[in-house]
């Protein structure tokens, strides 16, 4: 009997030993677990932040030198600096406006249409993440990344009023356009509680991964309104207005292609597999669109051109933008191919038919390509790539046909806001001394001399 008792005691001791040991070391393990947890988060944040800072720089590179070179090469030589200036000066102007109130109006919570003023003067925007938008990167990184989008969007419009808009009017136009069109649109699509924000519970759920509606449809439609309001360039289309240096344009377009990886893959807001997926879709879209445009040209004109190739790649990049974080690689190729053909048709046939002077085809490429891309996003978006609705299907391929209608509504709202806002702002800018358009003499002299007092090419110097 004592023997039984002893063996009982022994078993009890053996069983309870680890328990009592664990009880003794528990605080230590817990501390180490907390430290491990923090280290994991810090490592992820470091990785994500590195990619997002690179992406921010890539998107800025799209405006200058990318867009500045692309547009600069397409105009006549007397307007090369004036045209590059349109892109370049916005890198400064929009930055200041963004710091003062822009970020807050776009990304403060606010209502369905506008953000509030909680981040005025970037108050409270520091190294702590804003979990609503991006939980693993400093909010300041998110802020500077979004700024680069706000810079390039008004710069895209300048393609429509190139070679004839007064510089002072252009500055006022771009500032007002940012407030009236861009900030509300960015809030509606990406801001918390925004009307069109699909992933964050908007009333009309749209999918716009990297700015098809916010950036390309708004700027494209606004560009068309500008082209119609300002009228044709002096002598168009009677006088030849050939691009003065397509070498610059080709370099610019290639910089746009590379920068677009920051634009689309960066829109994942982290360096996850989703960012890779968007990177791949972006590249595939650009490649297929280049071939699409070239094929159209080859069949229609008999020769494929460099200008056609670079126009096609930009059209594809525009169209894949809203879809990039939602579609598989093969739909991306298809979206690109269709965009290349569609935009070729828009700038050659439609522009020729209606005879508006969208000088550098901001509408034909960004408006048309953006619209096509937004609607095709409703077709090809799939939860297999990006499960934003926790298991619910996204586009037509997931069995959610209604999404095509939602995307169309998003397009109509962006186009309507862009058109109405632009017309109103142009009316205001026309009240400036000298008006919105330069005088005939100034236009014939060229904007480089008449607006800026300098020339791009001084070969005798």
């Amino acid at each position: 009997m004592p023997r039984l008792f002893l063996s009982w005691l022994f078993i009890l001791a053996v069983v309870s030993l680890p328990v009592s040991l664990a009880a003794q070391t528990n605080p230590d393990v817990e501390k180490r677990l907390v430290a491990l947890d923090a280290a994991t988060k810090a490592a992820q944040s470091a990785g994500d932040n590195a990619w997002m800072l690179v992406s921010s720089a890539l998107v800025l590179m799209m405006t200058g030198p990318g867009l500045a070179l692309f547009y600069g090469g397409l105009v006549r030589r007397k307007n090369v600096l004036g045209t590059m200036m349109h892109s370049f000066v916005l890198m400064a102007l929009v930055t200041v406006l963004w710091a003062i109130f822009g970020y807050s109006l776009a990304f403060g919570e606010g209502n369905a249409f506008f953000g509030d003023l909680r981040y005025l003067f970037l108050e409270g925007v520091g190294s702590a993440p804003n979990a609503v938008y991006a939980a693993t990167i400093p909010q300041q990184t998110f802020m500077i990344y979004q700024l680069m989008f706000a810079i390039i969007t008004p710069a895209l419009i300048s393609g429509a009023f190139a070679e004839r808009m007064r510089f002072s009017a252009m500055l006022l136009f771009s500032s007002l356009w940012l407030v009236v069109v861009y900030l509300p649109m960015a809030h509606m699509v990406w801001g918390k509680g925004g009307l069109l924000n699909g992933p964050l519970g908007g009333a009309i759920p749209c999918f716009d991964f990297a700015g098809g509606t916010v950036v390309h449809i708004t700027s494209g439609v606004s560009a068309l309104v500008c082209a119609l309001y300002l009228g044709k360039r002096e002598g168009y289309p009677r006088e030849p207005m050939r691009p003065h240096n397509l070498v610059l344009s080709a370099i610019g377009a290639c910089l746009l292609w590379v920068g677009w990886f920051g634009f689309n893959a960066g829109s994942a807001l982290n360096s996850s597999g989703l960012a890779t997926s968007a990177f791949v879709a972006t590249h595939f879209g650009a490649a297929a669109a280049t071939l699409g445009w070239l094929a159209g040209e080859w069949i229609h004109n008999g020769k494929p051109s460099m200008l056609g190739g670079i126009s096609g790649c930009v059209a594809g990049l525009v169209a894949i933008t809203p879809a990039s974080g939602f579609v598989k690689p093969f739909p991306a190729l298809l979206i690109g191919l269709l965009a290349g053909l569609f935009c070729f048709f828009m700038v050659t046939w439609v522009k020729g038919k209606f005879r508006y002077d969208d000088s550098l085809d901001a509408f034909g490429v960004h408006g048309a390509g953006g619209t096509l891309g937004a609607i095709l996003t409703g077709v090809f978006a799939t939860k297999e790539i990006n499960d934003v609705l926790s298991g619910k299907g996204l586009g037509l391929v997931d069995g959610n046909a209604i999404q095509i209608w939602n995307q169309t509504l998003g397009v109509l709202i962006a186009a309507g806001l862009g058109a109405a806002g632009t017309y109103l702002i142009l009316k205001i800018c026309d009240k400036l001394p000298g008006g919105v358009r330069v005088s005939k003499d100034e236009e014939i002299q060229g904007l480089d001399l008449s607006m800026h007092g300098e020339e791009g090419y001084n070969f005798e110097a």
């Binding site: 289309p237 050939r242 691009p243 051109s305 200008l307 056609g308 700038v347 050659t348 020729g352």
Partner: protein, 112 residues
């Protein structure tokens, strides 16, 4: 003295220069110019906008030679600039009143 003004194809310039050098004609002035005679231009298309480009790049070559060498130089110049196709250009011949070497004031053919 005679002045020759030859409008030639740009890609023929080196050949013409070498040929003239071969017969001892060293001095010349050239300019890049645009123009056309009977040669048709070509069509360029930029995003669907068609442009007829009929002023084509040419080289204008000017040289002044002693009267006695005229036929010889014209033969060499014509042969070296010729491809046999439309667009080969033309040579115009002018009388020259005088020539002055700025460095030392030499006049006439001795200034050439």
């Amino acid at each position: 003295m005679k002045k020759l003004e030859a409008i030639i194809q740009p890609h023929k310039l080196e050949e013409v220069k070498e040929a003239l050098k071969g017969i001892g004609v060293d001095g010349m002035t050239i300019a890049e110019v645009r123009g056309h005679g009977r040669q048709k231009g070509h069509k360029e298309i930029y995003r669907g906008m068609e442009y007829q480009v009929d002023l084509l790049p040419k080289i204008k070559l000017e040289l002044v030679i002693p009267d006695a060498r005229l036929d010889e130089v014209l033969t060499v110049l014509t042969n070296s600039a010729r491809t046999g196709k439309i667009g080969d250009g033309k040579i115009f011949v002018f009388d020259v009143l005088d020539a002055i070497r700025i460095r030392n004031g030499d006049r006439g053919e001795s200034a050439l």
